[in-house]
């Protein structure tokens, strides 16, 4: 544990900072530079009244939580994944397999592809529906605000705005006005550094340029979790693979630039992510070595032209070119059961798109306003390949040769009708149109009705309506009744996913329908006074045609599937387990959220409680990877120069599927269908030495608590039944600005 910093040293630093700043804070307060401003200038300074910001949000036809740059700084959140530990209504598992890294379940809806991530309105999720990776890949210093919209929003955004939408709003040059940067050392032996330049050159030109690297190692899970059900076999192993050192590499960087020129905004961003693919994979099957990695590159270039902006109409046209690439080095490094031999199964995939969007916000009168738009996407899609024995040869174009899986009748995988052994591009187009109207019949009431229609050349038409009533009972109380629908696209990722090993095979299935969700919600906001607000929500989600892995059906005439790899273990290629991705069953989730926000003196706090229940009606089990009770308590104390913040996350026992290998009905364990929850503490403190330099220390899992989260596909024999979570991690950093 040579890279771990002891809790004692962290505490000493914490204490030293808090005490040494006292005298200087008093000095700062005495400076009173605000007192020298004239009243007119003062009246244009924004004040940090939580209730005022909430009041605007309270009028929106959705449950929205807004996080400011100030909150991000106070709590020391570094990447987008970090906010989930502090958010109400969220079940989160960190330190899981590379295609996910952090599993996020929002209001009982599991799946990283089911929350739409937008950055300045640009979709960040791969357009072809891959699960979104929340790793050290979305740095938060870029944003002046993050809005988390709970509930379905396909009526505005189309596909994949299913469980919710996260809007990332980047800073403008005028917000930055100079250069800021940071250098941080993480106790797992990683370097986190960024530089950000922003400037409003004149009324017409505003520029932002930023770069960030996160390089080093992630938490060494096998050093803390030595039980054989966890990472014991990795800890104990000293053989050939062990000699390669058991590392959890991170090799990430980001670049972003945004230039506004008059009515045009040009933006370009590039996210390069490459991290360990080993965590939560069964250690006796997968090698915990440096080469076992998963990575992606996501890029966007867009032009946003504001055609008209006046009191009546805000009309914009946006054109985007983007792409998503699975890093060709990505692989699953598979060992035999003795861990003394193995090899990599490489993967590759690519998608690129050109999109156009024209949207208009009309204010027809004081009582009627309309949001509308039309969009078009042309998508080039090369779905994730089969398991490859060496990295994909990029110079050979987009073609995956599956001829080794062709049976004697020429059917690939023995799948009747599938004779094309070269899997290439599976391109498609999508066209959408949406309109949402808000009508205020009386001062206290808003009625919102909207709908979106999408036509996709693969799965054809999808219609998603929404409706809402917002009743402002008094200046302090707002009540909302909301109805919404959404869909998950039957993406090429799921339609064409295929892999095989000597024991099992996953084959393509083109006949997947969109997964659909209907949601009802009642929401009340009560602003008790300027310093205290209370929000409660009662919601229910009903999901149908769940897209997930399922056993493949028998074919006509019991025609057998064909897995050529079976012969390596002396079995017939026409035998073995075969699965597909398909639509299977229904689920529902329902619950209550209570969220109390308050500020007093220099304390700012939010206390949230979530009650969640639900059922996977196909398996008659509670919603897996969710806890019935969750509490999030975030509190910060800040002065002009000093800040200390503490977050607490409690989650009760975590549900599993009935096929979970340790807790399921079919497993060898206690058949309880759940494992124990935990309470975890996170702390952050900083001190501004002067107006240019800030020193920071933050600590995840302050009390070094062993705990577990639900693992994606935890019911699989290849994945752990529950995912061990990192113990204490400490970050020391220095931030500067000029």
């Amino acid at each position: 544990m040579k890279h771990k910093v002891s809790i004692l040293s962290f505490a000493i630093l914490f204490f030293a900072i808090s005490n040494s700043v006292f005298a200087q804070i008093k000095d700062t307060l005495k400076q009173g530079d605000l007192y020298d401003m004239d009243l007119e200038t003062l009246m244009n300074i924004e004040v940090t009244t939580a209730s005022q910001k909430k009041q605007k949000i309270s009028d929106a036809p959705a449950t929205v939580i807004s996080l400011s740059a100030e909150q991000i700084e106070k709590y020391g959140w570094v990447d987008l994944k970090d906010i989930f530990k502090a958010l109400i209504g969220v079940d989160v598992s960190y330190d899981v397999q590379g295609e996910v890294k952090t599993l996020v379940t929002l209001r009982g809806v599991e799946g990283n592809q089911k929350i739409l991530i937008l950055q300045d309105g640009q979709r960040q999720n791969p357009i072809t529906g891959e699960r979104f990776i929340y790793a050290h890949n979305i740095p938060l210093y870029l944003y002046k605000r993050i809005e988390i919209v709970y509930g379905p929003a396909s009526a505005l955004y189309g596909a994949d705005a299913y469980a919710g939408v996260i809007n990332l709003i980047t800073k403008e040059g005028k917000d930055i006005d100079g250069i800021t940067g940071s250098v941080g050392y993480v106790s797992t032996n990683a370097l986190n550094a960024h530089i950000l330049f922003g400037k409003q050159i004149n009324e017409d030109i505003d520029v932002v340029i930023s770069g960030r690297i996160y390089n080093g190692e992630d938490y060494a899970l096998h050093e803390a979790y030595k039980d054989m059900n966890d990472y014991g076999s990795v800890s104990n192993y000293t053989g050939v693979l062990g000699d390669k050192s058991k590392k959890y590499p991170i090799k990430n960087w980001n670049f972003l630039t945004k230039v506004r020129y008059k009515k045009f905004t040009f933006g370009f961003d590039w996210q390069h992510e490459l991290e360990s693919n080993a965590p939560s994979c069964i250690p006796t099957n997968y090698a915990y070595i440096e080469n076992n990695i998963w990575g992606q590159d996501i890029r966007h270039f867009y032009v946003d032209y504001n055609i008209v902006k006046n009191k009546k109409l805000d009309l914009s046209a946006i054109a985007t070119v983007g792409d998503y690439t699975i890093n060709p080095a990505s692989n699953f490094y598979i060992t035999n059961t003795q861990l003394n031999n193995g090899g990599a199964s490489y993967k590759y995939g690519y998608s690129g798109y050109v999109s156009g969007l024209i949207k208009a916000n009309w204010t027809l009168s004081e009582k009627i306003s309309i949001i509308s738009g039309i969009s078009s996407d042309a998508v080039k899609s090369f779905p994730k390949t089969q398991n490859l024995s060496e990295p994909y040869h990029l110079d050979e174009g987009l073609a995956d040769n599956l001829s080794m899986y062709k049976d004697s009748n020429g059917y690939v995988f023995g799948l009747k009708g599938l004779t094309d052994t070269i899997f290439g591009e599976r391109n498609y187009q999508n066209f959408g149109g949406f309109v949402q109207a808000e009508y205020i019949p009386i001062e206290k009431l808003s009625v919102i009705i909207g709908a979106r229609y999408d036509y996709n050349t693969i799965f054809e038409g999808t219609f998603n309506p929404r409706a809402g009533l917002v009743y402002r009972a008094t200046r302090k109380i707002t009540v909302k009744a909301l109805y919404g629908t959404a869909y998950i696209q039957p993406s090429n990722y799921y339609r064409w996913e295929n892999w095989a090993n000597p024991y099992a095979m996953h084959i393509p299935n083109e006949d997947i329908k969109p997964e659909k969700l209907q949601s009802l919600e009642l929401n009340a906001n009560y602003f008790i006074n300027k310093n205290i607000s209370l929000r409660t929500s009662i919601f229910r989600n009903d999901m149908t045609d769940i897209i997930r892995p399922m056993p493949a059906n028998s074919q006509e005439g019991d025609y057998p599937y064909y897995n050529a790899l079976r012969t390596s273990i002396g079995e017939s290629p026409n035998s073995g387990f075969v699965e597909i991705n398909g639509n299977l069953g229904k689920m529902y989730s329902q619950g209550v959220e209570i969220d109390l926000n308050f500020q007093f003196f220099s304390f700012l706090s939010s206390l949230g409680y979530t009650y969640l229940e639900g059922e996977d009606l196909e398996n008659n089990t509670n919603l897996p990877k969710t806890s019935q009770h969750k509490v999030n308590w975030n509190i910060s104390y800040s002065t002009k120069k000093f800040n200390v913040a503490l977050s607490t996350r409690y989650y009760s026992d975590v549900n599993t599927t009935n096929t979970n290998s340790m807790y399921g009905n079919t497993g060898s364990g206690d058949k309880s269908l759940k494992f124990t929850g935990a309470t975890i503490f996170y702390a952050n403190t900083y001190y501004k030495l002067n107006k240019n330099i800030k020193i920071q220390a933050s600590c995840d899992n302050v009390f070094n608590t062993k705990h577990y989260g639900g693992a994606p596909y935890g019911e699989s024999i290849w994945i752990q039944a529950k995912a061990p979570q990192a113990l204490r991690k400490v970050l020391f950093g220095v931030t500067f600005n000029f």
Partner: protein
């Protein structure tokens, strides 16, 4: 366990050791300082200490006290007085009634009857309840409502600049 206790002690010590302020309270104290410059009190009030009274507990007391250490009202030394109840209210130039004490506005105005005191409140409809100035937040910005009648009734003259910037009620 020992380590946990150390951390807890340190965290608690950090909380205790640093003085409190809120951004809203600070902004309001800056506004009040500006009021001392833009409102004219009768001659009898233009000598001696300039007294700003605050009814009840509020973070603004700390902010005003910080302000008073560096600022003056013209040539007058600013003194902050905290009144724990309506009965404790004394003659002062400005009486600040925080939102938490809004139910006592009428009683407080009755108590200062006859004095040339600028009443500053922080509640919905503060000027209707008799305040000369009432703080409001509009679009996340600190603003204030001004009742000219409630100001002149107290024998105070308001500068044109203040009227220009106020939401006049």
């Amino acid at each position: 366990m020992k380590k946990i206790i150390i951390v807890l002690i340190c965290v608690i010590a950090s909380f205790i050791n640093v003085q409190a302020q809120t951004s809203n309270a600070k902004m309001q104290s800056v506004f009040i300082y500006n009021f001392t410059k833009l409102v004219n009190w009768p001659t009898a009030y233009q000598s001696g200490n300039f007294v700003i009274g605050v009814l009840g507990n509020s973070p603004i007391v700390t902010e005003l006290e910080n302000m008073a250490t560096t600022k003056k009202a013209g040539s007058q030394t600013i003194v902050i007085e905290k009144y724990t109840s309506v009965d404790a209210i004394k003659k002062c130039h400005i009486l600040v009634i925080p939102e938490s004490q809004s139910s006592k506005i009428a009683a407080a105005i009755g108590k200062i009857n006859g004095n040339n005191t600028l009443i500053v409140t922080d509640t919905d409809g503060g000027t209707k309840k008799g305040a000369a100035i009432n703080f409001v937040v509009v679009d996340s910005k600190q603003k204030f409502e001004l009742s000219e009648s409630n100001t002149t009734n107290k024998g105070l003259k308001v500068g044109a600049e203040l009227i220009k910037l106020a939401i006049v009620k």
